[in-house]
């Protein structure tokens, strides 16, 4: 929108008190967050924390109850069409059409994304190569392994060369090898295309490997924000892992801050016992 124009090149995604309620229940509660261009940002948090709800709002699928966000300077509430041209989304569910081949899936989305006809073939060939699916291009997606489907989905999301990619639990249900190949795909997107990626995950190892920064959500709020290293250090215990960070900020806790020391106290004694 008009006035907020130029500073968005650094912060490509900005959440401004983004809020979503379902009836009396607040799934996402006044989240204030900036994500920089070219970063892999992880949204972590226990089941029901509100991660998918944030992503649905940012991808224009769900209108916020209050607050808003901008992506590449476009407002998700007032300029959803503009936002959609800049983003791609791979849902938590496996979402390539199993009744079609990889090639047919790619053709369909090339048209839906408005990829000009003269570059369509080249782009589809590139996408197949990127996904390592050249051999399987003419096979029905229904017969693919989980890893192949995910690789295809990420390739599908690149056809219109979005600036921001949203990945909701990209490696859930994949074996370690398939997971590794998805990680490599994601890292290439950032390294070679300068894309910005916002992902959610329940694998702390994944967040630790991929993410430049993470936010830990609980009950609709951001409880901790920083690089994995910063967050581990902030616990004040030696050899803390991101799992410890996750546990620390995901625990049910009264709003009082006095609790903080209690918890790290008890954790320390646990460490000593072990």
């Amino acid at each position: 929108m008009g006035p907020r124009t130029f500073h968005h090149f650094m912060d490509i995604i900005e959440l401004q008190k983004l809020t979503r309620t379902y009836g009396d229940f607040t799934a996402v509660d006044h989240i204030q967050l900036s994500i920089r261009a070219g970063e892999i940002f992880g949204l972590l948090g226990p089941n029901g924390a509100g991660k998918s709800t944030v992503i649905k709002m940012l991808t224009t699928l769900l209108p916020p109850s209050s607050g808003t966000a901008t992506i590449a300077g476009f407002d998700i509430v007032h300029q959803p069409g503009r936002v959609r041209a800049e983003i791609a989304y791979v849902p938590q569910l496996v979402s390539a059409d199993g009744g079609l081949t990889a090639l047919e899936n790619l053709r369909l989305f090339a048209k839906l994304y408005g990829v000009p006809r003269r570059i369509t073939n080249e782009r589809i060939a590139g996408a197949l190569k990127f996904a390592g699916l050249e051999e399987a291009a003419h096979r029905l997606v229904r017969g693919y392994s989980g890893g192949m489907v995910r690789r295809l989905e990420i390739a599908l999301a690149l056809l219109h060369r979005p600036r921001v990619l949203f990945l909701d639990e990209p490696t859930v249900g994949l074996d370690p090898l398939a997971r590794q190949s998805i990680w490599e795909q994601i890292q290439r997107l950032v390294r070679e295309l300068g894309m910005t990626i916002l992902l959610t995950t329940h694998f702390m190892e994944e967040a630790d490997t991929l993410c430049s920064r993470v936010a830990i959500m609980n009950r609709g709020r951001v409880k901790a924000l920083g690089s994995p290293e910063e967050l581990k250090l902030s616990l004040g215990i030696s050899d803390a892992s991101l799992d410890d960070v996750f546990t620390r900020y995901s625990e049910e806790q009264p709003e009082t801050s006095s609790n903080f020391s209690d918890i790290s106290q008890s954790r320390r004694s646990l460490v000593r016992l072990g």
Binding site: K56, T59, T60, L61, L62, G81, R82, R84, A85, I87, A88, Y89, V90, P91, Q92, L93, V94, S95, D97, G98, G99, L100, E104, R107, L108, F109, K111, L112, Y113, G114, V115, P116, I119, E122, R123, A125, G126, A127, K129, F130, L156, L158, H160, R161, R188, L189, E192, L193, G194
Partner: protein, 281 residues
Amino acid sequence: MKSLNNATLLEWAEPFAVPAGRFTGLTRLAGQCMALVETEYIKLRRDPTDLISRAVQPALWLLIFGNVFSKLRAVATGDLPYTDFMAPGILAQSVLFVSIFYGIAVIWERDLGIVHKLLVSPTPRLVLVLGKALSAGLRALIQGVFVYLLAWLLGVHLNFHLPALLGAALVVLLGAMGFSTFSLIIACIVKSRERFMGIGQVLTMPLFFASNAIYPIAVMPEWLKVVAHANPLSYEVDALRALMVHGGSSLFGVGWDISVLLAFVSVLTLISARLYANLVR
């Protein structure tokens, strides 16, 4: 962007110029719409079992119901043999049955996350729902060919003049678009397969029986006449009766029938474009 280089990725994934202001041209919209229809076509060609199993029902109606009622002479259809009277009704019925369960397929796609991806693409909602409606239209047209074939085998006096055939195709297309969109709207409201099945079943039969498909409106009790006049299926059948069989005639006039169907399709399409995103909320 070139400066990032060394990458196989960049060669194909460079940004492309989207027309200024992104006032997407009509050709692009048409392309998006046809891409959805083409997808339906690919799937139908790959797996026609669904089409074939759906051809069984109209066959049974024409064979059994048609035969018995002709013998009974229970329905006053003027000079028209009863099977000739009934064939357009059965065509409309099979279009209705094909279309009214379209919402199930859409809920299925939602469960798979396909709807999410369609909605996040820059394709306008209106184009997405139109593409769905036209896909249902494609199915219905294929179904229509089956019904014509069956009717012909059973000795129905079909009208094979090109304008009549084209007119019938248009009516079938509009009927399918209307009822599939109606089905889509229900899917967007109930959102779950189980509830949809319930409602689908509850709706189809009344729509069918409260129409002129297998008996004329003239023989209905007053209250049913009112319902039949408000039922878009009646207008579909009415037009088909004039277009499909020799000696058949329309009560309301084919022009009026088509206008009603067009209005039905337009209004529902606009409503469904607004509701489509509800599926993923």
